[in-house]
Every structure is written in structure tokens, then in C-alpha cells.
């Protein structure tokens, strides 16, 4: 079973639009959206929800303010500056933990001399299994300002694998997150193939180099394609040269096409419409030669 992850380094290069088209072109795929804090794939593939699961991960420290004696021992020990001393409406002083800053390490819980800090399992979001016209889809939604996006990504991939194995699907196609940090690392480790979608700009070039370093670091076979290549032809040449030098396979160019937004508004994948760039995407899919 193959697993293709589409990433980009830089955001907004067209990952999701291109990946949704791959999902349409592939034979019996399982699709997954690992861009868990800005998931958009469902806007194109119109999934019908089959299962919804709460995603619990890690812990969150909560001070029982009514019994806290405000000794302040925990405040300087928190390396994430998550604990503040506050005055309650009735004038008493207490300590409070900012849930958006707490990383759930447990240091305050351990050190509290009064033992009044609760350490609860934290709800960080939800993950779903749905049906689409292309096949089963696993997707997720990270909670507002929540932690542990990397673990949610791993959960999505694990479920997609399980479904692919049980249903003997030959390929999993994954929409990855931008960047090179925790959720990207969780998206690509152990994958059989990565496609980097970049754009011909100084930022696209810079960000592709970093994400290429990352896929090389993990030893994952990598392909590159330049989207909107005709915005800057020289830069496209330069990026493809860079990619080849880094031993990545260059799998084609996709032209700048204003009708891509129209396809999005119609909630359709590009290859379902008469967009001129649909042909380019078909060529890239063929060039990837995954099926």
C-alpha cells in the first residue's frame, strides 16, 4: 500500500486543490486531511459523515481557585509563563492557569504544596470518518487554540491506514499542513512518497528548500511540482534546478489559472471542471506514476 503526502512548506501554494484532483484521478484511494488546524479538503470533496470521535490528548492543569492559598510556589516554576496571580471579584487573591499557554507538563501539579491543582485529560479536537465520491475520507478539526496537533495528525493517518488495509485500498492520499514543524513531521514520517507543491516566488523557493531538507532528513522519496509556474518563468527554472540537485523528481508544472477559484466556489475538484490547468494536473498525476 502506498501513501502519498502532499505538502508545500509555504502555505497557499495550491496543495488542497491539487490533492483533491488526485483523489478524483486515483483508483480506489483512501483520502485524509492532515492540515488539522485549517482543514479545507471537505469543502471540495463534500464528505458524508459516518463517524465522529472526540480527540483527547495530553493534560491540562487547572487550579481549584476556591481552595488555592495563593502561595505562588508554582508561578516561577512554570517554564511556559502560563500561571498568573489574579484578584477574584471578592478581593481574595489566587493563581490561575491560562489554558492556551499550558503545555500540560505537570510541574505545577507536582509541586503544589496544597495539592489543589487538577490535572485533567484535555479535549483537543475531533476526528471523523466520512464517505466521498472518491472513497473513504479521514479528517479532523483541532480545537480552538488547542495543543497536540501532531498527535491528531498521527491519529488521522493511523485511521486512514487501518481503513486502507481493511478495505484493501491500494493508495492513501494525504493533504498535509504547511511549514516544517510538529504537524508536518507527524504527517510525513514513514510515508512512501511526498509531493511538494511550490510556487515560483522567492518565498516559494526558500520554503521548498527547507521542506526538501526535511524530507531528506527522514529519507522519504520526494517529488516537486511548481504551481502557477508562468507567474515567474526564471524562478520556476531555478526551483526545478534546485529540486533536481537535491535528488527530488520534478513531476511537471501547473499553469496560473484564475478559474481555480471558480471551481472552489462550485465545490468541485479542478479535474471535474473545464479549467485549463486540469490538463496539467492530470499530467503531474501520471508523472508521479503511483498507480
Amino acid at each position: 500500500m502506498k501513501e502519498l503526502i502532499v505538502i508545500s512548506g509555504k502555505g497557499g501554494t495550491g496543495k488542497t486543490s491539487i490533492m483533491a484532483s488526485f483523489a478524483m484521478l486515483a483508483e480506489r484511494p483512501v483520502v485524509a486531511d492532515c492540515d488539522v488546524d485549517a482543514a479545507d479538503l471537505h469543502l471540495v470533496l463534500a464528505p458524508t459523515l459516518r463517524e465522529r470521535h472526540i480527540f483527547m490528548s495530553g493534560h491540562q492543569a487547572i487550579i481549584m481557585e476556591e481552595v488555592c492559598c495563593n502561595c505562588g510556589v508554582c508561578v516561577p516554576l512554570c517554564r511556559f509563563d502560563a500561571i498568573q496571580e489574579v484578584t477574584m471579584p471578592d478581593g481574595t487573591e489566587t493563581c490561575r492557569i491560562d489554558p492556551t499557554a499550558c503545555e500540560g507538563c505537570g510541574v505545577c501539579v507536582n509541586i503544589c504544596p496544597m495539592d489543589v491543582i487538577d490535572f485533567r485529560e484535555r479535549k483537543c479536537g475531533e476526528w471523523m470518518i466520512s464517505d466521498t465520491v472518491c472513497g473513504p475520507m479521514v479528517h479532523a478539526r483541532l480545537g480552538v487554540a488547542a495543543e497536540n496537533s501532531g498527535k491528531l495528525v498521527s491519529t488521522v493517518r493511523r485511521q486512514a491506514r487501518r481503513i486502507a488495509e481493511e478495505g484493501k485500498h491500494p493508495i492513501i492520499i494525504v493533504d498535509g499542513p504547511p511549514g516544517i514543524g510538529c504537524p508536518v513531521i507527524a504527517s510525513i514520517t514513514g510515508a512512501s512518497h511526498v509531493l511538494i507543491v511550490t510556487e515560483p516566488s522567492v518565498s516559494g523557493e526558500h520554503d521548498m528548500e527547507r521542506v526538501l531538507d526535511l524530507t531528506r532528513h527522514f529519507g522519504i522519496p520526494t517529488s516537486v511540482c511548481v504551481n502557477k509556474w508562468d507567474i515567474n518563468v526564471e524562478m520556476t527554472d531555478r526551483i526545478e534546478e534546485l529540486a533536481r540537485n537535491a535528488r527530488a523528481q520534478v513531476v511537471g508544472r501547473i499553469r496560473y489559472d484564475p478559474s481555480v477559484s471558480r471551481a472552489q466556489i462550485q465545490e468541485k475538484a479542478i479535474v471535474e471542471t473545464a479549467c485549463p490547468c486540469a490538463e496539467d494536473i492530470r499530467e503531474v498525476w501520471k508523472e508521479l506514476a503511483l498507480q
Partner: protein, 283 residues
């Protein structure tokens, strides 16, 4: 004033807005590139690198002589950065968050902390702009720790513009906490609208005042405009879809320099932000 430029969706023009606003101002401005996974602001500035500071977190090192393999540290660690095999625990620094808990719980004081490099913060000066650019080492996952280091360089009393990472997860939240105002940059497409809603939920959760910039107006529909009107969110600037902007950006040029007719847009945007901050409205 500390202004953050953020978005749910990537590639909507955060960096463009940040660098052009900074360039348009004539007074000194601190530009903080908090998109440490893919920092790009420096690509649009001239001027020279004046400093590069290595950033590390404190990770445990266990003295095998003193350790009696009691495993208290392994049990304590929430991030699985310590693993035991019936002897001195192994440390996996790439999983460590640097909380210091293991050193606190070790009954034999067998753990000391050593530095583990996660990236650098570079300083570059271009005219009125002092750029602090965080750059995460490839293979390291702790982006938010580096964001904190970039923000630690903030000097009070000087206008600051923070270029935030995309999304709504920890690195974006770490950037936004404590700023005076947030600009959410979006585009008038279904993806733009969907991710804008997520970003709005996030800034509301953080109780921060915010306004919206709609970029590439003309490529999609009017649903972003309708959403902002419905939610009483001020739209502070609209930038039309203009291929010349995309081309200038692709070469690393500032819009206010390559296409001077847009300078007035950024002046209006700055006036709108200062007016909003003055009024202290939270939409």
C-alpha cells in the same frame, strides 16, 4: 503598539502586508518574523545581518553514576522524552518540551540540564526596520518555543509588527498572546472564508481586538464580505487581484516600491489600525 498579522489559511499575504506596512512607516519599527517554520520576511528586505543568536531549550542529562533507575522521571514526563530499559533512562531531546519536571522529581539529583539547540533568531536592519527573524532548525518540532524567543526580543515603546505563522495551532497562538491588535488577512474564496472563521474563533478565544484585510478581491465571491458584515468585523483594507502584485512578490519586491500607486492603501490601513486600537473595540 504591538500588531500581529495572522490568518487561518496560508499564502493569503501575511508577509506582504507585514513588510509593506513596516516599509511604509517612517518611524522606527520592529518587525518580528514569528513564522519560524518558514520565515520569509527577510527575503523582502535589503540591509545586512547584524546578529545571529542560537536558541536552545534545557533538556535533561542523566548522571549514570548517581541514577538508581527508580524511573520517577520517566513516569513524570508527559511527552515521552525519557524511556527506561531497567537502567539509566534514555533521553529523547527532540520530544522534550524543556519543562524541567524531571530534574524536580529526581530523588537523587542525578539530572542536570543541558542546552538543546532548536534554531536561531537573526537580526537585520533595513532603514527604519529592525527585523528579528526566528528560524527553526530542520527536523525540530518545537516551533512555539522559538516563537517565545523571538517575542522576548520585543522592545517597549517601539511599534512592533509580528508576522504570524498560518493556522490556529500552538505556534500561531504563541504569536498572538499579548498583542494589542490582530490583522487577519484572507482572500474571498471558500477556503479563505472557512479558515477566516477558524482564525476569528481563535482571536475571540484569546480576547484580542481584530480587523480583516481582504486580499485578491475579484478572484472569488462576496461571502467573506457578507460574513464580516454579519459579524460586525471591520474590513480595514481590500487589495484588488492584480497580477503585477503577484509578479513583484515573486521577485521579492515590496508592493509599495514596485507599484507606488498602492502606497496609499497601506497608509489608509495604518490609519485604520491606529483608529481601531484607539477606540479599543473588540468585535
Amino acid at each position: 503598539m504591538i500588531l500581529a498579522v495572522a490568518s487561518g489559511k496560508g499564502g493569503t499575504g501575511k508577509t506582504s502586508i507585514s513588510v509593506n506596512l513596516a516599509k511604509m512607516l517612517s518611524t522606527p519599527v520592529q518587525l518580528l518574523d514569528c513564522d519560524v517554520e518558514e520565515p520569509n520576511a527577510h527575503l523582502f528586505l535589503r540591509g545586512s545581518l547584524i546578529d545571529e543568536e542560537e536558541i536552545s531549550i534545557a533538556v535533561p542529562e542523566i548522571d549514570a553514576e548517581a541514577c538508581n533507575a527508580c524511573d520517577e522521571c520517566v513516569v513524570f514526563c508527559q511527552f515521552n522524552a525519557l524511556a527506561s530499559f531497567c537502567s539509566t533512562p534514555l533521553v529523547f531531546p527532540e520530544l522534550c518540551h524543556g519543562c524541567g519536571g524531571c530534574t524536580l522529581v529526581c530523588p537523587r539529583s542525578a539530572i542536570r540540564e543541558i542546552n538543546f539547540r532548536i534554531g536561531v533568531v537573526r537580526t537585520l536592519i533595513d532603514g527604519n526596520i529592525t527585523l528579528k527573524s526566528g528560524c527553526l532548525d530542520v527536523g525540530v518540532s518545537l516551533a512555539s518555543a522559538l516563537v517565545h524567543s523571538v517575542k522576548a526580543s520585543l522592545e517597549e515603546g517601539i511599534t512592533a509588527i509580528l508576522d504570524a505563522p498560518p493556522g490556529t495551532a500552538c505556534p500561531a497562538v504563541a504569536t498572538l498572546r499579548g498583542v494589542d491588535y490582530v490583522l487577519l488577512v484572507t482572500e474571498p474564496t471558500p477556503f479563505g472564508l472557512h479558515d477566516l472563521k477558524l482564525a476569528v474563533d481563535t482571536v475571540r478565544e484569546l480576547h484580542l481586538p481584530f480587523g480583516v484585510v481582504i486580499n485578491r478581491v475579484g478572484i472569488g465571491d462576496d461571502r467573506v464580505h457578507c460574513f464580516c458584515a454579519q459579524e460586525h468585523i471591520p474590513v480595514l483594507l481590500e487589495i484588488p487581484d492584480d497580477r503585477r502584485i503577484a509578479e513583484a512578490y515573486s521577485r521579492g519586491q515590496m508592493i509599495v516600491e514596485a507599484l507606488p500607486e498602492y502606497r496609499a492603501h497601506f497608509e489608509r490601513l495604518w490609519q485604520a489600525i491606529t483608529r481601531e486600537v484607539g477606540e479599543g473595540t473588540v468585535p
